[in-house]
Symmetry: C2
Subunit: 641 residues, 2 copies
């Protein structure tokens, strides 16, 4: 679709944000929304008049785009009908004080409601006429659980029957898509008869639509509904009013309002651009892979980590020209240990302890990616550099982790040659294992409630694709995991970022988040072309791979058609095994984990065979149980006589 | 049903408890379970052999009651059929090492499974024959989401067709009741053909049965399924094997294993007694009401709290004969302020700050209640008393709060006369409001994940009835609230205990739990016969009732048919209003809240009219928003020019 210069007003419902009403308004304004929907409950609990709300909003430069909801109005039997019109007059008073001209009437859910579109139309026409006399307008929306009206087409039929200029249709992506209703017909409506558009996404959950709607909605791009199709249809109608986010979500209710508001605006900017409107967005990058990871360490942690990396086969490959920064390298994997004082890394170390402070993605065009990130309201970062050193463009992930963008186009001289004294490589031993292909995946542990925000960030800025959700049983609680993967990922190429959250603070993920104050990267997997050879070689050199229980291999023999030799080869090398059924005959996955470094991050060696696409989630329980046993010292001998 | 002396073996599945396998076994044993189900995943991730598990269990005095699950076995097409029998042989090896003779085979969920009961029976007969040769047995259970077999009657049909002595039926309350299947026919089965019984309850949720089963099961008595009917049917069959708890629950996975195990054993003891088996339980108490609440304070908090109580109309009515303990009284409400050094209260104060350290329930028979509590594995408590003072029997709630039991039968001399110097009452003023009737309800804020444990405690020990769950929107996150109510509660009589939890640590509930380290009682409501008169009188005396926004009353006029005078009367007194539709014409509820004491607990005055049974949940959002505005200082004037 060609990009149109038209930019939509961007609005958010107060119910989508946490806090008191003034806090909500301030968050929406400071992030850059044009308007807000005033959700009635936020007004009722506010210790000031509707006129005060209007003044606060005006002071913040916010338009009040709508007042909502007005419930259970139309098609009621007669004594109630008259009362409902009185109710409407009272709410019109409030709207005039608030300074908004539009009210949202959602379809009636009362058992007493009469199943008669003509009657509904007559009632709404009467309400609209009363509104018109005051210069106000009424929008009618089909709730997905409305008693008789739950589809946009029914609501539109009633609006047409009522045939009143002050009555229009309101459409909501959740109410439409949750019922699997087809939005495409909205394109054929006259756009000026659509008075308002509400947008929400949601994960696909099989539960009753009311609970789903009240607790699990999220911003477009965070869920699994085809919101883009909905938006295309609505904008094709010619609608040019606000795009407004109305989200009921338990996590959003608890999150800081500005964080939520930023996610919301990012979602709307992306949605608008995907629909071909607004100023447009530069294309997302093509990501070749993770060029390097940077660890924030002090001298002691540096020495300890370099010893661990040595045992895993990394060599000290270079030293930064001007800073206390060392490069460790093995095949296609670059790891940077930054112990420079008074740097961004040392700040990171102060806050989070030894941890990954930066990831670098190799992209086709760093400048274009930075422009896209900026348009999506990301925080950019410029490092201080020495003479002749390269400044690598960077932005911050939602937890503050730096993401460097290493530009493939400018790779006539590598960043390593610019900034590092590189040490001569020793001649490869004849018998050594084949070198690592690269970084296969980088798993992050997120504070509870932040999954949606990270998914949106990686999806919109980088174009990564969210995979399905996994549930991993840690001995001390459940981990929920969702990976974001660059579209062209294959073994040794592309970016894969599993994101993990845990409600429990006792799990490895929960403990990591608490102990590191949310440092992010929890584990790093290296891609090997021959994991067995590599792990065998490294075990001999004393690498601390996790011991895997014999019971695991007994069960593996039952689950998969592995012959005894193959099984014994895995067992000798502490290698876990998985198989997926997607590729012909099934891809295979071999992987081994290290114990964790200071109860923080840990490493993994993985080998993907025949197009295996997953992450060995079935084996995560074994890894977590063994790590817990090592940590807790809960060894069987303690319990045996 | 007459009580039978037969006591069932009590077992729990390792998946129900958190931790490593040795931790799970130790928790189950230390709490007093007879046996455990070994859940396969716990074995696979355990760094020791099945024989090690057997030795640990034996050392702890635990029987391994079953090994489970064996999945997707029966009625598979032919190459897989042979492999499945090999799989079975491998698992029989494991069982023999473990020292258990029973394996649970759950009905096949594979799309490839053949819909043929004869074929399923033949396969299971073959498996059972192989098991018999080793002295083992096979139990077959219908999973609620089995491909072709999902009802106990289908599984029983297959077991009958197979007609093998080493093959029996396994029934599970969740799988039966989740499908709304009728368990009564189980009573007609031969009890010795039922090899094992698994019990689980669950809240009623409208979602897919697999997700419901994997995340939301809980112990019998914690949910809403008719587990008692299921147990009655099963025991009527003559089944005398173990009663075993198999619970998949996200919160249990994260909770300390001993806490969960204690809840589980309490649930089984209660379930057995309700079914008329085991040693039996003394009857639950008849609770007349809350006789008093005791606050742990230091001298400063005592003075501040006594001033607040004074403004609410309480008088200093007595002083303990031997301790730094003061009685405040108004009508039927007794509040005790305990500032005694070196006491249980001072310990409580050290840990939790100024807070309620004890509740006293007036019961028909304290000794019988204590005997019941002891049989249900509650922790009892004996206080140190002075000469001639009464020792009040007491037990501890799951969070350590003391619950005293004041015996109506021994009330020839009141506890107050025994232990206190009572001050003479001033003659009542002619114009004063009618006295308080008593304590209407005591709301507790619980740490996240502890709701089920508290529900079970109050339900089993005291016979309180759990009401339906409410969701209350705090400005900083959702509160979930469920009240336990004594069966005979009426205005001024009975015990009502709303229990509140919040996933968010930013809500009033979440902040309270963090700030007080889980002190429990968050707010205390006094029952008035004329709330308007009382609040008017007390506002004049400077009582700190929460100011209610004018917008609330504007909306109230729209929602309820209140005339202007009634509305104005509420508004003048900061009274909130609710109406329920249960009684004829609807009961009414008038209530006013105080601001919180040191951002901890707060008080409420309530008036129930015409049988109103709820707690004004619709108004909780207003209370929480106003308290947050006062706390945060988020006053509109800050945002206005």
């Amino acid at each position: 679709m060609p990009s149109s210069a038209f930019t939509f007003k961007k609005s958010i419902a107060t119910v989508s944000l946490s806090g008191t009403l003034p806090e909500k308004l301030e968050a929406a304004a400071s992030i850059g929304f044009d308007g807000v929907e005033i959700f009635e409950n936020d007004l009722l609990t506010f210790d000031g008049s509707p006129a005060d709300v209007r003044r606060i909003a005006e002071g913040l430069g916010l338009e009040i785009t709508i007042f909502q909801p007005f419930r259970d109005f139309e098609a009621m039997p007669d004594p109630i009908r008259a009362r409902n019109l009185d109710r409407a007059e009272r709410k019109f008073d409030v709207m005039q004080e608030l300074g908004t001209d539009l009210v949202l009437v959602c379809s009636n859910v009362q058992p007493a409601a009469i199943d008669d579109p003509a009657r509904a139309a007559a009632d709404l026409a009467e309400m609209a006429e009363r509104a018109r006399r005051r210069g106000l307008r009424v929008g009618y929306e089909a709730l997905a659980w409305g008693r008789h009206v739950n589809r946009w087409r029914q609501a539109w039929d009633i609006v047409q029957r009522a045939d009143h200029p002050a009555l229009g249709l309101i459409v909501d992506s959740f109410h439409t898509l949750a019922l699997d209703d087809d939005p495409s017909g909205i394109a054929d409506l006259p756009g000026d008869r659509i008075f308002f558009v509400q947008l929400a996404d949601a994960p696909k959950l099989s539960m009753d639509v009311l609970s789903w709607s009240r607790h699990f909605r999220n911003f477009p791009g965070q869920g699994q509904l085809p919101v883009g199709r909905f938006v295309d249809a609505v904008l094709a109608s010619g609608y040019r009013g606000p795009l407004s986010l109305e989200i009921f979500n338990d996590e959003f209710r608890a999150a800081p309002a500005r964080l939520t508001a930023l996610d919301g605006l990012r979602s709307l900017i992306h949605t608008e651009a995907e629909a071909g409107f607004g100023p447009g967005l530069p294309a997302p990058p093509v990501c070749r892979g993770v060029e390097f990871l940077e660890f924030a360490v002090d001298a002691a942690a540096r020495d300890k980590l370099s010893a661990l990396l040595g045992s895993l086969g990394f060599r000290h490959a270079g030293r930064h020209r001007s800073k206390d920064v060392d490069l460790y390298r093995q095949g296609g994997v670059n790891l940077v240990l930054n112990s420079e004082e008074d740097s961004a890394a040392s700040e990171h170390f102060q806050m989070h302890g030894p941890s990954v402070c930066a990831m670098a993605f190799a992209v086709d065009d760093a400048a274009r990616t930075i422009a896209r990130a900026e348009a999506l309201r990301c925080v950019l970062w410029r490092e201080r550099v020495g003479d002749g050193e390269r400044r690598i463009p960077a932005l911050r992930a939602p937890d503050g982790t730096l993401i460097y963008l290493v530009d493939d186009k400018e790779a006539n001289r590598s960043i390593w040659e610019d900034d590092f004294h590189l040490f001569a490589e020793e001649p490869a031993g004849a018998a050594g294992p084949p070198p690592l292909l690269g970084i296969d995946h980088v798993a992050q542990a997120l504070p509870f409630g932040r999954m949606d925000g990270f998914v949106l960030f990686y999806r919109t800025v980088f174009g990564f694709v969210p995979e399905s959700l996994w549930e991993l049983p840690d001995p001390y609680g459940l981990i929920r995991s969702r990976a974001l993967v660059s579209p062209d990922a294959e073994p040794g190429r592309g970016v894969r970022l599993p994101l993990n959250i845990s409600e429990s603070r006792r799990t490895a993920t929960g403990r990591f988040v608490s102990a590191t104050a949310g440092a992010g990267v929890h584990h790093i997997a290296f891609a090997a072309s021959d994991a067995a050879a590599l792990v065998e070689d490294r075990l001999a050199a004393g690498a601390p791979f996790l011991p895997i229980p014999a019971n695991y291999y007994d069960d593996l023999a039952v689950k998969h058609p592995l012959d005894d030799a193959a099984l014994e080869a895995l067992k000798q090398r502490e290698l876990l095994y998985d198989r997926d059924g997607q590729a012909d005959g099934g891809g295979e996955f071999l992987h081994a984990y290290t114990d964790s470094f200071d109860d923080r991050f840990f490493f993994e060696v993985v080998e993907r065979r025949a197009g295996y696409r997953q992450f060995g989630a079935v084996n995560a329980a074994v890894r977590m149980a063994v790590q817990a046993q090592l940590r807790e010292g809960a060894r069987p001998e303690l319990y045996l006589d």
